[in-house]
Structures are given as structure tokens and as C-alpha cells.
């Protein structure tokens, strides 16, 4: 029992540190990649190639004034960043990062907790993220925040349905809800589920981008019309918490996508203890794709966004599901 507590606490701390560092450097990567795509240099003063920029940003954020405007509902205003930050980290509890390996004579599992209903857990937790946004938008007492919050919640719940349906196909083929077993089934590149579920993957990708409020679906934060969206009235580290939450969500959906469709930590050449490297490479490709999209596409209009979610993605997801079911049973 004691050993279990110590082992999982260590794992939790390592994973959390990795995720938070990942979030920090995702912002750096985003700025740098977008800069290169636009023939700029991007951050370059703090440290070599600007590598210390995220740390400088964090310190600067912490020393900024924490402005609480007059018209806010104080309790919900204080709760909102926490409600948005915490769920974004919880998803990582079930993501399998590496194969099981032995370290100084002990068997180490490559996942914080191997739930037998892992995917359900992921979707339950992802749904909680919308609360932070609604609370932030409503409690700020600013019109931009309110509109951003309402839009964002409508967008997230609209895409959540197709998001949920898009993975049912994979579950049909895999016959399990445990993420670890899913990875174990995709042992070679030919067994990756993307080949069996190409449409499912495209649906997942689209909905994941919409769920995390990224371009071209970043209506809640449309700077040109809504200023900052739901976090307009936040400042200092509470603003940073929304920001970290957003990037943690991006990394989380990338991790889940990798696990569902790209074989997770499975890969050739590396021993079990180092298989996490494959996982990181695959997630990195996902993140790069996210940023690439941002640099390439203009933003949707709101009615286009809602129509696309309800009238294109949802029927497609249902058809994909039924066809997969038929093929599996045939």
C-alpha cells in the first residue's frame, strides 16, 4: 500500500512537471513556428534562440498586478481559472506514456492509472472544461467576456457529440475502453487504427481542434470582435492559468489522438524503458499540425461553425459508426 502511494505520487509529479514544461514550450514552439512561417524570427532575446522566453513570461506574469474589476461576482470569478485549469491536467491520468519497464528491480507501469474505462474518463473530464469558461464569461461582468463565454460553451457542446461519436468506431474494432490495451493492440504501423478508421480520425481531429478552441475554430477568442473572449477581465497568473489550461488541453487531445489512432508509445528500435520517446515524437507531430493550421487558415464565421458541427460532422460520425459496426460484425 505504502509503496503504491509513493510510486504513484512520484509518477504524478513527474507527469505533471513534464506536462507543464510541455505547455510552456508549446507556447514557445507556437511563436517560433508561426514566426518562421511568416518570415519573422520570433522570440530571440531571452537565452540562446529565445529558449528561456517561456520562463521569462512566467516570471513576468507572476509579478503583474492581479486586477479584480468592480463588477465581478467574486467567488465564481476566483473559481473559474481553477475550474478550467484542473480538468485540463486530469486527462493525463489515464494516458499511457510508455511501455512497462523495470527500474532498479521494480516493475513500473507506463501510465498513472490504467482504468478499464479510460476513454470514458477522458471524455468525462474533457466535458468539465466548459464549466471554467462559462463561469469566467458570466462572472466577469463584461460584455466581451459574456459573449465569449456563451459562444465558447455553445461551440464546445456542439462539437462534443461528434467528438464522442468519432471514437466509438475505434472502440468497436478494439473491443475495449482501456487506453493501455488499445495501444497494445496497435503493435506495428500496419495495425494503427488510423488505417481502419480514416474518417473517424478526421472527425476526431476536427472536433478536437474545435473542443480546444484553436484556429480555425477559435471563435471564443476572436480578437477582432471579442477582444480576449471569456478571459478579457483576467490578469496576472489567473490569466496564465487559462492559457496553460488551453495548451494542456491541446497536449491532452494530441496524446489521446496518438493513443487511439497512432499506436501510442509503440515503435521500433527502442527498449521498453525508452518507448516514451516515440510517444513524445508523435505528440510533437500533432502539436506541429495544430500550429501549422493556425498559420494557414482564416477563422470560421460563427454560423458556418455551428452549421458545420451539426449538419456535416454529426451525420458523418453516425454514418461512420454504423458502417464500422456492419463491417466488424460481417
Amino acid at each position: 500500500m505504502l509503496e503504491m502511494i509513493v510510486a504513484s505520487s512520484i509518477k504524478v509529479i513527474i507527469v505533471m512537471l513534464a506536462v507543464l514544461t510541455g505547455c510552456a514550450y508549446a507556447t514557445y514552439m507556437e511563436r517560433k513556428v508561426v514566426a518562421f512561417m511568416q518570415h519573422r524570427i520570433g522570440p530571440s532575446y531571452a537565452g540562446p534562440y529565445g529558449l528561456l522566453q517561456p520562463i521569462a513570461d512566467a516570471i513576468k506574469m507572476a509579478f503583474k498586478e492581479d486586477v479584480v474589476p468592480d463588477k465581478v461576482e467574486r467567488i465564481t470569478y476566483a473559481l473559474a481559472p481553477i475550474a478550467s485549469f484542473v480538468p485540463s491536467l486530469l486527462v493525463f491520468a489515464v494516458v499511457p506514456f510508455s511501455a512497462d519497464f523495470t527500474l532498479v528491480g521494480r516493475q513500473v507501469t507506463g501510465v498513472i492509472s490504467d482504468l478499464n474505462i479510460g476513454i470514458l474518463f477522458v471524455f468525462a473530464i474533457t466535458s468539465l472544461g466548459v464549466y471554467g469558461i462559462v463561469l469566467a464569461g458570466w462572472s466577469s461582468g463584461s460584455k466581451y467576456s459574456l459573449m465569449g463565454g456563451i459562444r465558447s460553451s455553445a461551440q464546445m457542446i456542439s462539437y462534443e457529440i461528434s467528438y464522442g461519436l468519432s471514437i466509438v468506431g475505434v472502440i468497436l474494432i478494439a473491443n475495449t475502453l482501456s487506453l493501455r490495451q488499445l495501444v497494445e493492440q496497435q503493435d506495428t504501423i500496419l495495425h494503427w487504427y488510423i488505417w481502419k478508421q480514416p474518417l473517424g480520425f478526421l472527425l476526431y481531429l476536427t472536433c478536437a481542434i474545435a473542443e480546444t478552441n484553436r484556429l480555425p475554430f477559435d471563435l471564443p477568442e476572436a480578437e477582432s470582435e471579442l477582444v480576449g473572449g471569456y478571459h478579457t477581465e483576467y490578469s496576472s497568473f489567473r490569466f496564465a492559468m487559462f492559457f496553460i489550461g488551453e495548451y494542456a488541453n491541446m497536449i491532452a487531445v494530441s496524446c489521446v489522438g496518438t493513443t487511439l489512432f497512432f499506436g501510442g508509445w509503440q515503435g521500433p528500435f527502442l527498449p521498453a524503458g525508452l518507448s516514451v520517446i516515440w510517444f513524445v515524437i508523435k505528440v510533437f507531430c500533432f502539436m506541429f499540425f495544430y500550429i501549422w493550421l493556425r498559420a494557414t487558415f482564416p477563422r470560421f464565421r460563427y454560423d458556418q461553425l455551428m452549421n458545420f458541427g451539426w449538419k456535416v460532422l454529426f451525420p458523418l460520425a453516425v454514418v461512420n459508426l454504423l458502417v464500422t459496426g456492419l463491417i466488424v460484425l460481417w
Binding site: 502511494i5 504513484s8 505520487s9 509518477k11 504524478v12 505533471m16 507572476a62 509579478f63 503583474k64 492581479d66 486586477v67 479584480v68 474589476p69 468592480d70 463588477k71 481559472p81 481553477i82 485549469f85 484542473v86 491536467l89 491520468a93 489515464v94 498513472i112 492509472s113 482504468l115 478499464n116 470514458l120 461582468g141 463584461s142 460584455k143 466581451y144 467576456s145 459574456l146 460553451s153 455553445a154 457542446i157 456542439s158 457529440i161 464522442g164 461519436l165 466509438v168 472502440i171 468497436l172 473491443n175 475502453l177 477582444v227 477581465e233 496576472s236 497568473f237 489567473r238 496564465a240 492559468m241 454560423d303 455551428m306 452549421n307 454529426f314 459508426l321 459496426g325 466488424v328 460484425l329
Partner: protein
Amino acid sequence: MFETYYPILFLILFAVFLALVMAGASILIGKRTRLGKKGNPYECGIDPVGTTRDPVPVKFFLIAISFILFDIEVIFLLPWAVVARDLGMFGFVSILIFVTLVMIGYFYELGRGALKWD
């Protein structure tokens, strides 16, 4: 039975702790000034007009209600997906009937224009 959930409990505690530390840090070490005009809600520098506790367009509530309906559909599909092979064609036909019923509702909603934005 619940052993697998203990690590998640640690993770929740850790995440909440982290969130409180972050929120607390900026309050403790951040600069503090008297707010005055700065406490106004942001409205491009003009004095704020009206309140924000206005009614919200009913469209959004319709979306929320449709979401509940269809999301429950997804929840019913997941258990079927896990045992689809054991249930065989019987399960598939049952699910087909269920999905058809839900889709009738969906097309009815489309026809009534509940999902139309303008």
C-alpha cells in the same frame, strides 16, 4: 476494486494544489495599486453602457437541450461498442433501430430550423 482510482485522487489533489499556489502567487507577489477607473469592465476605454445581466438569445438554450439529447445517445452507444461482437447482429439491429429513432428526431429538429443560424 477502487485501487486504480487512488492515483487519480493524488492527481486531483496535486492539480488543485498547483492551481491554488498559482492563483495565490499572483495575489501575494503581484503589484498592487488602488483601482479607481481601472476597475471598470473593459469596454474599449469608454464608460460601460448598460449591464451584462441581459437575457441570452434562446438559440443557445436550444443548442444546449439538443446537446443533452444527442450526448445521451453517445453514452448509450459506448457500452454497445464494447460488446458488439458478443451481441452480434441482434445487437446491431437494436442499435440501428435506436439510431434511426434518434435521427428522426435530428431531422425533425433540422426541419423546424432549431439548428439554423443567421
